[in-house]
């Protein structure tokens, strides 16, 4: 079974990602599956009855399309066709902060360990690391930084509200 990083641990992935599913017939029974947004929107009633269906979004998809579903969906995945395509970071924040999604938010596609810290700050809690990367070694990257300055999904208060000190404040300069 494919490995997944979930909540900062390496686990077995029980979900099947269906990148090309276009019809209900493409979704096998009895297997938790992640379907494209278009199929979800077309067959929401049939799919939601199963309870083991997640949805994946492409970078160009509107996360607002799932606004009514965020309470019920167990999993939403966001695709990164290339790791340099940063749209998924904003999609994650919108799903979490604006649309109230509390389920598993999974980064899929070209996911490298060097992105884990930023992805995590934006609200992702699951990472389908590219298969040529060592998931166990990658766990260290969650601790690349002690924190961030900006307000983020994982750290809703910006640094200036979390208590910067005046340690470094300089005295008046003289000659």
């Amino acid at each position: 079974m494919r490995q997944l990083i979930k909540d900062r641990a390496v686990v077995d992935d029980r979900w099947t990602l269906l990148r090309d599913a276009a019809a209900l017939a493409d979704v096998p029974d009895g297997v938790p599956a992640i379907v494209p947004l278009a199929l979800w929107l077309a067959r929401r009633d049939d799919l939601s009855a199963r309870g083991d269906i997640g949805v994946w979004l492409a970078p160009s998809d509107d996360p607002g399309a799932l606004a009514a579903d965020t309470g019920a969906l167990p999993l939403i995945a966001v695709d990164f066709p290339q790791f340099i395509d940063g749209r998924g970071y904003s999609i994650a924040r919108l799903l979490r902060d604006r649309h109230g999604f509390r389920g598993e938010l999974r980064a899929i596609g070209d996911i490298l360990r060097d992105q884990l810290f930023a992805l995590s700050e934006c609200g992702f809690d699951a990472f389908a690391l590219r298969s040529d990367h060592d998931a166990h070694a990658a766990l260290a990257s969650f601790n690349d930084f002690a924190g961030v300055y900006a307000a983020t999904t994982r750290t809703p208060e910006p640094w200036f509200r979390r208590g910067p000190s005046s340690d470094g404040c300089p005295r008046q300069r003289t000659h």
Partner: protein
């Protein structure tokens, strides 16, 4: 100056450790070239013609003398003994070794410096007024706001992989010295009728191959909302900026395609969700940051220096230098001094390690230990006693930084060009030198007055040629280097983009073309009319005619 607290220091140290690991993984083959490229770029490391190029961030152009000495040390120890001050107030090293860059970053960290986000498709170092905090025409000191933006933008996790690079300028003075109108965001601090600080927010300016003047999308943004509003702008850009074509990926293209009004509407809609939220900046935070920029221990003078006035009357060379290189200070008895890095024969913006050390010493002796970098690639001592100007001038002359040409034709803004840069189509440094040699008569130069000549070795426009009164662009024609001349560009409050006047010229023809442009100006100018104003009054036709009067 802003001094790091423990959190700032730990982030920079962790960034060095992260980059050390990434470099190691690249060198052992665990990271491919394509995977490593964006990571090294976000740490300021390009692979250039001869060697990697490392760009060090100088946040909003402010340096302490201690920092400048470390920059000199790096130049000496890891480079070939010099550095290049850039048009974005940063410093570039042209000859570091890839394997040694983690060591350089570690050394920078010892003086609270780094190369984070000095390249790559992310928010870059913030540009600001080199006269911040001391300018006589300042409305709001931009430095606390710049530092706030530096912190917010550093490692901002949502915006690490934007469609393209993103440059922010902040100005707080009546006269814009930051080229705010040609930045992705230009934030102009203003005060409302009640005295409250706010920002006029300009979006979508830029240079490069599709130059544009920015549009004001909000005339008055209450200052505490600055970061919420920036988050909104960046989010709209991150989601909808083009990623299919790097030449159409800057925010200016999105603003143009949507129209500024529609872009503004989307930003305002996004902002409504964040407005008043945790990202709102409390007054206490700005006060905390402002406390990092106290006035130095100025002496009180009832009036400007009498001795200085006497020295001006006494010596024409001194007064000529003062006229161009000394600017009014907010305090009586003090002056702002610009050190010209544009002496003929030295690449514009270059300084050697020895010179950097000498300037650091002058900063300690004459200006409370601080140096600023201008986007015209000169250096500034911001707090010099008028009584000391004569002595400082003597020292600067000895060092070669007293060329009295600030704002004159030979104060050429110039990228490293084809001598160093792998993007360049043509050399720029020798062309600049050819022009400087042609205009070596100081009296004539001073008579010509304000005339900004900017040159870029390719259409990426690092030399800001679009906003030069005269702009020169290096182009490639069938493997040969040619130069396209434009006229009518300007930076500042009334920024405009220059227009190309005709077919490109060979390198040897460029100085003569500049002479002809200047001749037209001299022949037509009204009393005290600047070159750019004559161009605006006459249009391009007479300039074009003269330059192409005989076959080239």
């Amino acid at each position: 100056m802003y001094r790091y607290d423990k959190f700032d220091s730990s982030l920079v140290a962790q960034r060095v450790a992260q980059f050390r690991d990434q470099t190691q993984r690249f060198l052992t083959g665990a990271l491919t070239e394509d995977e490593f490229r964006p990571l090294r770029l976000q740490n300021g490391l390009y692979i250039q013609k001869h060697a990697p190029m490392l760009r060090v961030a100088i946040p909003y152009g402010h340096l302490s003398s201690a920092q400048l000495r470390v920059l000199a040390q790096i130049a000496r120890q890891y480079d070939r003994g010099y550095g290049h001050f850039t048009t974005r107030q940063n410093l570039q090293y042209n000859w570091p070794r890839l394997e040694e860059t983690p060591e350089i970053l570690a050394l920078l960290a010892t003086v609270e410096m780094h190369a984070i986000q000095t390249s790559g498709n992310c928010v870059r170092n913030t540009t600001s007024d080199p006269f911040a905090g001391v300018a006589a025409d300042e409305i709001v000191d931009p430095r606390p706001w710049c530092e706030l933006i530096r912190q917010w933008s550093t490692l901002h996790p949502e915006f690490a992989f934007l469609p393209r690079k993103f440059k922010i300028a902040v100005t707080g003075a009546t006269r814009d010295r930051t080229a705010a109108l040609v930045h992705d965001i230009g934030a102009q601090a203003v005060r409302d009728a009640g005295g409250d600080v706010g920002f006029r927010v300009i979006v979508g300016g830029g240079q490069g191959r599709t130059p544009m003047i920015g549009h004001a999308i909000r005339e008055f943004l209450p200052a505490p909302e600055l970061l919420n509003y920036f988050d909104a702008i960046l989010r709209v850009y991150n989601r909808y900026g083009r990623r299919d074509n790097k030449y159409k990926a800057r925010i200016k293209i999105l603003v143009k395609e949507l129209t500024p009004a529609e872009f503004a509407r989307q930003v305002e809609t996004e902002w409504e969700h964040a407005r008043g939220g945790p990202g709102t900046v409390p007054d206490a935070e700005i006060a905390r940051l402002a406390a990092h920029f106290p006035d130095p221990a100025y002496r009180d003078f009832p009036r400007d220096s009498v001795a200085y006035r006497a020295a001006l009357a006494d010596s024409r060379p001194f007064s000529r230098w003062a006229e161009r290189n000394v600017h009014p200070h907010k305090r009586k008895g003090y002056a702002i001094v610009t050190l010209s890095l544009k002496r003929t024969g030295t690449p514009p913006g270059d300084a050697t390690a020895v010179e950097m050390d000498a300037i650091a010493d002058l900063a300690d002796r004459f200006s409370f230990g601080e140096v600023r970098v201008t986007h015209e690639q000169n250096l500034v001592l911001s707090d010099v006693l008028q009584n000391d100007l004569d002595a400082l001038w003597g020292r600067l002359k000895a060092l070669g930084f007293a060329t009295p040409n600030i704002g004159l034709l030979t104060d050429i803004v110039c990228c490293p060009g084809g001598d160093f840069c792998s993007l360049a189509n043509a050399k720029s440094i020798p062309i600049a030198e050819g022009i400087q040699r042609r205009f070596d008569d100081l009296d004539y130069l001073h008579d010509l007055g304000d005339l900004e000549l900017n040159m870029s070795g390719c259409m990426n426009a690092c030399g800001h040629h679009h906003v030069g009164h005269i702009g020169i662009l290096g182009v490639d024609k069938n493997g040969e280097e040619w130069y396209q001349i434009s006229v009518g560009g300007a930076q500042g409050n009334d920024a405009s983009l220059g227009k190309v006047i005709g077919p490109s010229l060979a390198a040897a023809e460029v100085p003569e073309a500049i002479v002809r442009l200047v001749d037209v100006y001299v022949g037509h100018r009204h009393a005290d009319e600047r070159f750019i104003d004559t161009v605006r009054r006459l249009g391009l036709a007479p300039f074009k005619e003269r330059v192409y009067a005989t076959a080239h």
